[in-house]
Subunit: 434 residues, 2 copies
Amino acid sequence: MTTAPSLRISELPAHAGQHVVVRAWVTHVRSSGKVAFAALRDGTGVAQAVFVKSQVGDDLWARFAELTTETSVEIAGEARVNPRAPSVLDIGVTRLEIIGPSPSDYPIQPKEHGIDFLLDHRHFWLRSPRQRAIMVIRNEVEQAIHDFFYERGFLRVDTPILTAAIGERSGLFATEYFEEGTAYLAQTGQLYGEAAAAAFGKIYTFGPTFRAEKSKTRRHLTEFWMIEPEVAWNDSEANMKLQEDFVEFLVQRVVQRRRPELDELERDVSKLERITAPFPRLNYTDAVALVQRKGSTAKWGDDLGAEDEALIVEDYDKPVFVFNYPKEAKAFYMKENPDDPRTVLCNDLLAPEGFGEMIGGSQREDDYDKLLARIKEEGLPIEAYDWYLDLRRYGTFTHAGFGLGLERTIAWICGIQHIREVIAFPRMMHRLRP
Amino acid sequence: MTTAPSLRISELPAHAGQHVVVRAWVTHVRSSGKVAFAALRDGTGVAQAVFVKSQVGDDLWARFAELTTETSVEIAGEARVNPRAPSVLDIGVTRLEIIGPSPSDYPIQPKEHGIDFLLDHRHFWLRSPRQRAIMVIRNEVEQAIHDFFYERGFLRVDTPILTAAIGERSGLFATEYFEEGTAYLAQTGQLYGEAAAAAFGKIYTFGPTFRAEKSKTRRHLTEFWMIEPEVAWNDSEANMKLQEDFVEFLVQRVVQRRRPELDELERDVSKLERITAPFPRLNYTDAVALVQRKGSTAKWGDDLGAEDEALIVEDYDKPVFVFNYPKEAKAFYMKENPDDPRTVLCNDLLAPEGFGEMIGGSQREDDYDKLLARIKEEGLPIEAYDWYLDLRRYGTFTHAGFGLGLERTIAWICGIQHIREVIAFPRMMHRLRP
């Protein structure tokens, strides 16, 4: 390899007509016998190397035959716009160096592969145009999340993954922690987020969370990323307002900046353009009545399952809030609804097109006695929640927050049915590698 | 609590002269008998509530006596600039509502507390001005990291925390993973980052990493955050260039935007203003000679310890690169130095003022046979590295990357000696709560 300064493929359009050097991988080749083409990718874009037999000389022409799928190369030549394919620049090759050959048994071939095979070769599968488009959109969503909160004065707080005995809950991954006993991998950063909201006013978390659940649905991973804002002095109403502003911001940011990737995924962008606040809001009781009219056997008091959620959203082209669920269907920390103490001040936000729940949120119980009673009712170990109760013992405060599942949100934006495709190296019950 | 629209304290300056409602916590009180003051904080800033006995009426004046440390209140009154303390707005109180009383045994009092006591009450300690300043700077650094890479076309890739048998290495937290056997908490995302660099060109990771080490130094946590960029086609030289540009960007961003918080920490900002690229570079061999001249017993072949690092940086007012360490002192994946095969193409970046190593980086071994030999030499389980070796088997590529320790970097920028203070809820050998 020479030390000639090289360009990324994404930089080529600014150098049309110039002599350039590019380092890239070959994705496929074809030859007419007089002119040969090698499609190139370098992660930033795609280009096409053009070899004209009468110009490149016999040596170089012969070396073209060595170019197999995923051979890495350094190519020099003139960058030029091909009028018939203006989005992919040609490079009229004058020099070719093979950096890394690629044996002919490269696992991913231009044919259908089974999902297990693709996941076993995730390190290569990520190189495909479709997977790259998903990861580019994921990156855009993540940056948009940080920008949204930074611009609004939220502090990001990194809550711990290793947590002490938070008790009798199921689905916890456990690990030995020196002489402190067992540590559990966090399922949520919310409780820590509440402490931080009292200190900093408006905060959000952004980190991995873990569920050791034997779920094999298309909507479950054992390791997934959650964003959990928590805001002092927000009530449930303000909490829903924040959610719809947030989701609108994320979706419109992707629409504005990642159109080529949405097109690569054949996403119907008009459906995303419609995602603007406010979102429709359904009281839980009304939602149950609605799904019952549509034939569901759900009855008041049940949590709503995926099928009920699908029935609810089918009448809407925006995400739908369902709010104020029965107490027994939801977590202990949600604030009792003063207007109907059978219920709590909470909401789920259901994505349109049947993509299911992407947010769960609530106003938090800020009454010390009520919270203590709920912890006891649930049989949770009180001593593990002493610091959490402290937040109500000293200067309690109205506050609310929510958790947005990153992979579910990205899957919806991308129009991808199974969330295993929207994270680089998914973790599922039967999947711990690569 | 009324439903009057309230303002955050940070919004008050724009409302000077107006009637405002604020919800906040009381940090301390004082009274002359005729005029009383309550200092307020709400996480976004601080303000002062002023109670004039002759104006507020007996009821309200009596209620002032109930205001203890960390009582939460809603206060209404006129916002006004106090010429003697223009940075903290006064509120001339006309209404006071106590939302959450705070018993007089509030744990954190205006006196010296031991570090264990403070860490036991971290949920309250975070409310102090100094801790808030640190967390505001942490937030600024984190946003700056994302902005730096986003603007340069890097993709953020979330690498897995739960990883399969990566083998015989020490200091791993382990957890049962269904029928897949044991999973280990990731110590680094680098190997996955290399796969992603081949797919996307330029990537970075940003996530928690774990070390189950019985270290009790001021520079170790069991759970800490790392940022790991990886760039296809970068060599060790380009890797160091990226590091110095990155560190300069982070430091200058904090200097520009977080001056009040640096002042709160009494940080000597002039020392930070000097942090501009390029940074001095010392060959490992020269570095050993330097510390030997200064009395160290280090000899060629050793890794450099904290004391040697302090000797190296004391002559400089910028971070210092030490590059190309002996092979046996460094990890198996670093590329052999073609000019001196006893060494590898790597670098550490040492913070000035004795804050120690904040980055470790290297060009990666891209030769399949050499990498395989190194994996065997280290006694690592080859089958666990099959996908990693694949990256060299098919279209290998020059690439380099580094890992920046987030807490160490923030500790240096803040001028904080112990990194336990720069993360919201630190995890150490003897610390798993709150």
